[in-house]
């Protein structure tokens, strides 16, 4: 703790301007907010499945800078993404585009849900027709149950 205080004191000497507000990495917070939103949907191409928002790899940093410049140049989100797709291919998009090769991907789960519901209700209807209510107990059944009950008590 003592050593730590010494370090602290030394730091104070070096930096007379204590408790200064840290500078954001980006000059413009509005641009930064959009950058994070876009970067989270872009894949860092040299990483093991990380977005360029999360990764600290050089390529990710470069791409973040690039996207930042594009935003500053007044491009829309769509234009930024199109630019990156033109350069790196669709692989860079974490949200696949909606087009013929990905129809099955996007619609699949909802078709599956529909099929599930239809199957469920047709099964339930068929089932209720097939299953008979249990027949009423016969005298023999009643005796058997009595024996079983007595036995489990003993």
């Amino acid at each position: 703790m003592k050593r730590f205080c010494a370090v602290l004191a030394a730091l104070c000497l070096i930096h007379p301007a204590l408790a200064r507000e840290a500078a954001p990495m980006a000059e413009d917070p509005v641009v930064e907010e959009r950058l994070v939103k876009i970067a989270e949907e872009l894949r860092c191409l040299v990483c093991q499945n990380e977005s360029i928002a999360g990764s600290q790899a050089e390529l990710a940093v470069d791409l973040r800078n690039e996207v930042r410049d594009l935003i500053k140049a007044g491009k829309t989100d769509r234009q930024v993404k199109d630019f990156l797709v033109a350069r790196y291919g669709e692989f860079v998009l974490y949200r696949p585009q909606f087009k013929p090769t990905t129809y099955a991907l996007w619609i699949g789960p909802f078709v599956l849900l529909l099929v599930g519901f239809v199957a469920l209700f047709s099964y339930l209807r068929k089932r209720s027709r097939k299953v008979e209510d249990a027949p009423p107990l016969t005298e023999a059944d009643r005796k058997r149950a009595e024996v079983l009950l007595k036995e489990s008590q003993s």
Partner: protein, 651 residues
């Protein structure tokens, strides 16, 4: 010498497993008591042999025997002992051995705790587990032998990936494998019941505690893995929809469906076929997950040493398992009775609905995971399917599940009255709406998504309180009832964490010089500087941050940047001040000038509300599972019933 001993024990265990997989099954089929009796001792023998083998490999790690290729590839003499010992499962070959050990352990547990089951049934279950063991051991021995020697032996090993040199490695893989392997017990019970043609409520009761145990382990494994990623990867994410995460999440979804449908099968004797199919599917998905992870078809943060030969082996094994079990199912299923009658409005229907939703959700995750591979294999280009897709598809499917969770325990079996049920729960609905409206207002930022999810949380928790009150009036509830409610409560807690963190987290990406401050989430972080420090096998730069709230110092945080030497990426060790309702999270980025210790750094500071609730909720779920399986009705002995047989014969 010792590695050879381990290798030999492993070969022996394969031989015993072959016998244990065949003789008891044949014995049970031909009703030969001696062959049936072979199941238990054989299971013990397999366990001992694999334990010896595992101990030998651990020993090789302990004494730094780098003449063993696997040790040389995953350990070095500088690593702390605890990480050298857990490095045994830090790679592909060793983790398979751990897997085999666990499978043998589950088999022993089945043999020990199933004394109340008929011997023939136990023999069938152990026989099927023996066959699974044969597949696993053959895979290990023929494609992934951990005991292979390296000539000449290197003087020093290649260190384990620094990401793995963490306590997470101690608990995450073993728990996850426990869950994976546990599902093979549920599978073995299902196959055994099909073989015996005895698919009844008794079978459901026997396999239920085992399935719940597997599910609880899967819950722990997945959630603690997520916690590990949260604090280790350094950017504060906790679930990435990474294909490998999906590979263990899909079995969890199906296992969740399975424990619900088993409940119906046990209580009401219905959905037997469906339950068996789910058990088969859940186990098949664990094999498929293994294939995806170990064959090299995926790129992910969980990269294993991969090899197409291994992929081929698993694929053949998977085909065999699915093919033979479905064939067996097709032969036996038509003879299975339908069980008791129930009305459209009943707990049975509700649980079926739960099953449809969970299975569809699993299908959606499956589709997203497999789609890029499929498109690539068909030569239609390379695409990525990432978090934006999964969030868009998965969350809407989970909303009705959350809405129904509260309703399930109120509804009656056989026939329920929806109007009366809802009338019972109206206070819960009021609480739900109140919580849903209050949360975004208190957080001073309206967010409809957060409002909806928090409303569902309020609805679930209030319903649990009402149901508990009602249930206590009727007498002491069973352990499995408490377990269910605790697990449902855990789900609600989890949803709070997941919602709050994704909607209301705050993040600042700043350039800080020593002395600078940054405010996030009402807290001020002051950067005091960076100093150099040395770990056992790395050098580190440790930053110091003083956190204060309203001028009062709160805590100190020391995030690190670690260098594990050439060949490894520098590691970011985040520092977290974890509190009940929020986490403060600091991670060091890069030094911005050459002066690392006195100069400015890129720093990321996060405020993560309710972060701990994500994993806390999962712990409740798992705990609920363990409580439920302790229910005494699972341990009741079947009494011999000569009298009943006599009366039955007379009638």
């Amino acid at each position: 010498m010792i590695p050879e001993l381990g290798h030999f024990a492993l070969i022996l265990s394969l031989c015993v497993a072959l016998a244990a997989g065949i003789l008891p099954l044949v014995g049970a089929y031909r009703n030969q008591a001696q062959w049936i009796a072979f199941a238990r001792p054989a299971t013990s023998a397999i366990f001992v042999l694999i334990l010896v083998s595992y101990a030998c490999l651990t020993w090789a790690f302990y004494v730094d025997d780098f003449s063993v290729a696997y040790v040389a590839g995953h350990s070095n003499s500088q690593m702390p002992t605890i990480f050298r010992l857990s490095a045994v499962w830090g790679g592909h070959e060793g983790s398979l051995l751990l897997w085999a050990l666990m499978l043998a352990g589950w088999a022993i547990a089945v043999a020990t705790f199933s004394r109340q089951l008929p011997d023939a049934m136990v023999a069938r279950v152990l026989g099927v587990m023996g066959l699974v063991m044969v597949g696993l051991l053959a895979f290990t021995l023929f494609t992934s032998n951990p005991f292979e020697r390296l000539m000449p032996a290197p003087a020093e090993g290649r260190s384990l990936n620094p990401l793995l040199q963490d306590f997470g490695l101690l608990y995450h893989p073993p728990l996850l494998y426990m869950g994976y392997v546990g599902l093979s017990v549920a599978f073995a019970f299902a196959i055994a019941a099909l073989l015996a043609g005895q698919l009844d409520a008794a079978w459901a009761r026997w396999s239920r505690p085992w399935t719940i145990a597997a599910w609880a382990f899967l819950t722990l494994g997945n959630s603690l893995g997520s916690w590990w990623a949260y604090y280790e990867l350094g950017w504060g994410g906790w679930w990435f929809w990474d294909p490998v995460e999906n590979a263990s999440f899909m079995p969890w979804l199906l296992a969740t469906a399975l424990i619900h449908s088993l409940a119906v099968t046990e209580k009401r004797g219905s959905f037997k076929n469906w339950t068996v199919l789910l058990a088969i599917a859940a186990f098949s998905l664990t094999l498929l997950g293994t294939f995806l992870v170990r064959s090299g078809v995926l790129t992910s943060v969980h990269a294993f040493a991969t090899d197409p030969g291994r992929g081929m082996f698993i694929l053949i094994f998977l085909t065999f398992v699915i093919g033979s079990s479905l064939l067996l199912f097709a032969i036996r299923a038509p003879k299975v009775g339908l069980g008791g009658r129930f009305a459209l409005v009943s707990r049975e229907t509700l649980l079926l609905l739960n099953n449809v939703l969970l299975v569809v959700a699993c299908g959606a995750v499956f589709l997203g995971t497999i789609y890029p591979l499929l498109i690539d294999a068909l030569g239609m280009g390379k695409i990525s399917v990432g978090p934006p897709y999964f969030n868009a598809v998965f969350i809407p499917l989970m909303l009705p599940v959350l809405a129904l969770v509260a309703l399930g325990p109120t509804m009656r079996w056989k026939q329920s009255d929806l109007k009366a049920d809802l009338l019972k729960l109206w206070p819960a609905a009021v609480v739900g709406v109140a919580v849903g409206v209050a949360t975004p207002l208190l957080a001073s930022q309206w967010h409809s998504y957060a409002a909806l999810l928090m409303a569902l949380v309020g609805w679930i928790v209030a319903a649990i309180v009402l149901q508990t009150y009602d249930r206590l009036k009727a007498g002491k509830p069973t352990a499995s009832w408490w377990g269910m409610q605790l697990a449902h409560f855990g789900l609600a807690v989890f949803v709070v964490g997941a919602t709050m963190i994704s909607v209301y987290d705050e993040e600042r990406d700043v350039r800080m010089e020593p002395g600078d401050t940054v405010a996030v989430g009402g807290h001020v972080f002051k950067f005091l500087g960076v100093r150099a420090a040395d770990g056992p096998n790395f050098s580190s730069l440790v930053g110091s941050f003083e956190v204060s709230k309203e001028g009062q110092p709160l805590s100190m945080l020391y995030p690190e940047k670690r260098d594990y030497g050439p060949g490894h990426m520098p590691m970011t060790e985040a520092a977290i001040d974890g509190r009940f309702t929020y986490d403060l999270y600091v991670s060091l980025g890069e030094p911005l000038t050459a002066d690392k210790e006195g100069g400015p750094w890129a720093v990321r500071v996060y405020y993560k509300p309710f972060a701990f609730w994500i994993w806390g909720g999962c712990l409740f779920m798992a705990l609920g599972g363990f409580i439920a399986m302790a229910d005494r009705r699972y341990r009741l002995k079947l009494k011999p019933r000569p009298a009943a047989v006599a009366v039955g014969a007379a009638a």
